[in-house]
């Protein structure tokens, strides 16, 4: 294998691995920018994966065919947003500890979805979906030499949606009045309140957006890669997304870079064994590579990760 064919394998793999992380981390960005820590991203992904698979199976039986997984993504988005209301009510209205509420969300999601799977399918996993989202070659662009096979061949459409979404999120958060309000609520809620911004309403919207995006992230993973749902379909991806969010310094493009970085490290560690030049390296070094790179990056090269000022604090009107 020459260097180009190695890249042709690794780059698409990295983009695909980054996709669910990117969706979910962008969701977390809304929530945390508004001052609500969201440890519950993992749970939101679980519930998204569950509802995504369930909805796909359902739409399949209704005869929707190839449209089923796309409609299912929408369902997962709505279910994720509704599910995140648990976190929103507990941490915003009731002013509970946001970490505790987020952790509760994680447990609730796994427990609830596995319980429902057992009720519906009478065993520990769902059936396999047959209408999936498949890899595509982008017309024309995939014919570009070198870049075509790397970025435009055998990639899921959802991957492109994720990257376009990163740009949209950047625009919304940094270039619109809505984004300014969102950030002000996360930085200094009292100042925002005196300016007439409804702090709690902004926070509700932000948490529900994180639920919607997290739901899509989980559903994308389940529909493109796993093909069914079981209690172990989403294991740790939500926490990876949280890490990408902090690694990317709560900035959409930073998050995009971090997700890509995680994806690339993972792709490299997996494919290395099949690449003659790298096959000599003992597998254990390749397996720890993503984690070592992450620690190095966090410790040395990124600098200080400074979050929104008011993160983790419930807002009480009139308090100081």
């Amino acid at each position: 294998m020459d260097i180009l064919s190695i890249l042709y394998t690794i780059v698409p793999a990295a983009l695909i691995a980054a996709t669910p992380l990117l969706f979910t981390a962008l969701g977390g960005l809304f929530s945390e920018r508004a001052g609500i820590v969201n440890i519950g991203l993992e749970g939101l992904m679980v519930i998204g994966a569950f509802s995504g698979i369930l909805a796909t199976l359902w739409f399949e039986t209704l005869g929707m065919g190839a449209a089923s997984p796309w409609l299912a993504l929408l369902v997962a988005m709505v279910v994720g947003a509704v599910f995140s209301l648990f976190h929103a009510v507990a941490s915003i209205t009731l002013r509970a500890d946001q970490i505790v509420s987020g952790v509760a969300l994680n447990f609730l999601a796994v427990g609830l979805s596995v319980f429902l799977v057992r009720e519906i399918f009478e065993r520990g996993q769902t059936d396999y979906i047959s209408a999936r989202i498949f890899r595509i070659n982008v017309p024309f662009l995939s014919d570009i030499p070198v870049l075509g096979p790397m970025f435009f061949s055998r990639i899921y459409v959802t991957t492109y949606i994720a990257f376009i979404l990163a740009v949209i999120v950047w625009y919304v958060v940094f270039k619109t009045p809505f984004g300014l309000r969102l950030r002000s609520v996360g930085e200094h809620p009292m100042a925002a309140d005196t300016m007439g911004i409804k702090v709690n309403r902004m926070r509700y919207i932000a948490v529900m957006l994180s639920g919607a995006f997290g739901g899509i992230g989980g559903a994308v993973f389940a529909i493109t890669t796993a093909g069914n749902f079981a209690g172990n379909t989403i294991v740790g991806q939500g926490f990876m997304a949280l890490a990408a969010l902090i690694f990317g310094k709560w900035h959409p493009f930073g998050v995009m870079g971090a997700a890509l970085f995680f994806g690339l490290a993972q792709a490299l560690s997996i494919s290395a064994q099949q690449i003659p030049a790298l096959a000599q390296i003992p597998q254990v070094y390749m397996l720890i590579l993503p984690y070592v790179l992450t620690i190095l990056a966090l410790a040395g090269f990124v600098g200080k990760a400074e979050g929104p000022k008011a993160i983790g604090k419930p807002y009480e009107k009139g308090s100081r």
Binding site: T9, E42, G111, V114, A226, G227, G231, V235, I270
Partner: protein
């Protein structure tokens, strides 16, 4: 400032704890089941109808691992075997589900206290627990599936039967199919976590392939994870990309990704196959316009449980023995669904099966044995 740091620290710790918990779950191939443990007492759906007069007080019961009795894998298969046994011999059979690893010891103890004639522990996860329980209840009979339990001195326990399978023999047969039906003369194997057990799958497979196709190239990779579908998909992507057209996976949930990749490629007109493991994975390879499952290596836990129960009923409890269920006991074999297997391959499978049964072929289990086998070809 300080507070925020504490928040971050707390969140990292919380995440770490959760991840650690998840990591533990990775080892057990099944799913984590926070539910299901609550119905331990009302599961006598079969046992209640059974009368006990004819065979005295004989009873056979099992403890599932966290996968649960409906895991579509070895727990379910074991329960099928027990039910069949119960129906055939008119004795009491039952199961207890474990919702958590900490349930194993209490569940096994309960069976012992109920004077169960033979108690099965399903899965190697219960290795340590059954060792304790069996030593404490020396007058009771136990059996464990998929592993060999020894005491501190390395001896097997006289009241515990160890049920293992000749996975290498079954893997040899699917290797024969792979070797005959590969068009690129390049096949591959994806293992879950590297261990003596999974090595049996690998070496049996390699031996089978090379027996019928000495020139075939065989790629091997271990995902080092039983539950990472995206890892499985990517390894399969690289392998298919390098020219392999048949992949045999022994990787649990990681194998889901292998099927995903194969279906994706088959849709684009590529001729690629997956060989399933443990059970007939035909349904998993199904897509709109075809099926990528070539065949599967099935492991008949039900047969093993049935036979051990029968031996115990007849008074021949194989305590302290290491039972290996191979081709002759129908403990392993190729899947019933043979839609994608050519007649020529089926004939070859029968032929090699006979040779293994006659002792003409000694299927290798370890790397050393495989090297000897390869040299003798």
């Amino acid at each position: 400032m300080k507070k925020r740091f504490m928040t971050l620290l707390t969140s990292v710790l919380a995440a770490g704890t959760l991840l650690a918990a998840c990591g533990e779950g990775d080892n057990n191939e099944g799913d984590t089941t926070p539910v299901g443990g609550n119905n331990n007492n009302d599961n006598n759906n079969n046992g209640e109808e059974v009368t006990q007069e004819e065979t005295g007080d004989f009873s056979a019961r099992m403890v599932t691992d966290v996968g649960g009795v409906d895991d579509r894998s070895f727990n379910e298969s074991a329960w099928d075997g027990l039910q069949e046994f119960g129906a055939d011999f008119d004795v009491e059979v039952d199961y207890i589900q474990s919702s958590d690893a900490s349930d194993y010891a209490p569940n096994l103890n309960r069976l012992a206290r109920d004077n169960t004639s033979i108690s099965f522990a399903i899965g190697f996860l219960m290795e340590d627990d059954i060792r304790d329980v069996a030593q404490r209840h020396e007058d009771m009979n136990f059996a464990i599936v998929d592993t060999v339990v020894t005491d501190d001195d390395g001896n097997t326990l006289s009241n515990l039967a160890n049920i293992t399978f000749a996975e290498h023999e079954g893997s040899f047969l699917v290797g024969v199919v792979a070797g005959l039906q590969t068009e690129s003369d390049h096949v591959a194997f994806i293992g879950g976590v590297e261990s003596p057990l999974i090595k049996k799958f690998e070496n049996g497979f390699k031996a089978g392939v090379l027996s019928v196709n000495p020139d075939a190239e065989i790629s091997i990779q271990y995902a080092q994870d039983f539950n990472d579908a995206s890892r499985g998909q990517q390894i399969a992507d690289t392998m298919y990309g390098n020219g392999a057209d048949v992949i045999y996976h022994a990787a649990g949930g990681t194998g889901n990704g292998v099927f995903t990749e194969a279906i994706d490629r088959a849709r684009n007109g590529e001729n690629v196959w997956v060989i399933g493991v443990d059970q007939d994975q035909h349904a998993q390879g199904q897509w709109d316009d075809g099926n990528v499952t070539l065949t599967s290596m099935v492991k008949r836990v039900d047969q093993a449980v049935y036979q051990v129960s029968e031996m115990t009923l007849e008074g021949n409890f194989p305590g302290g023995e290491i039972l290996e269920f191979g081709l002759e006991d129908q403990g392993v074999g190729i899947a019933e669904t043979t839609d994608n297997v050519e007649q020529e391959s089926l004939d070859a499978v029968e032929d090699y099966k006979q040779q293994i049964l006659d002792g003409d072929i000694d299927v290798p289990q370890t790397d050393e044995e495989f090297e000897e086998f390869e040299a003798s070809l």
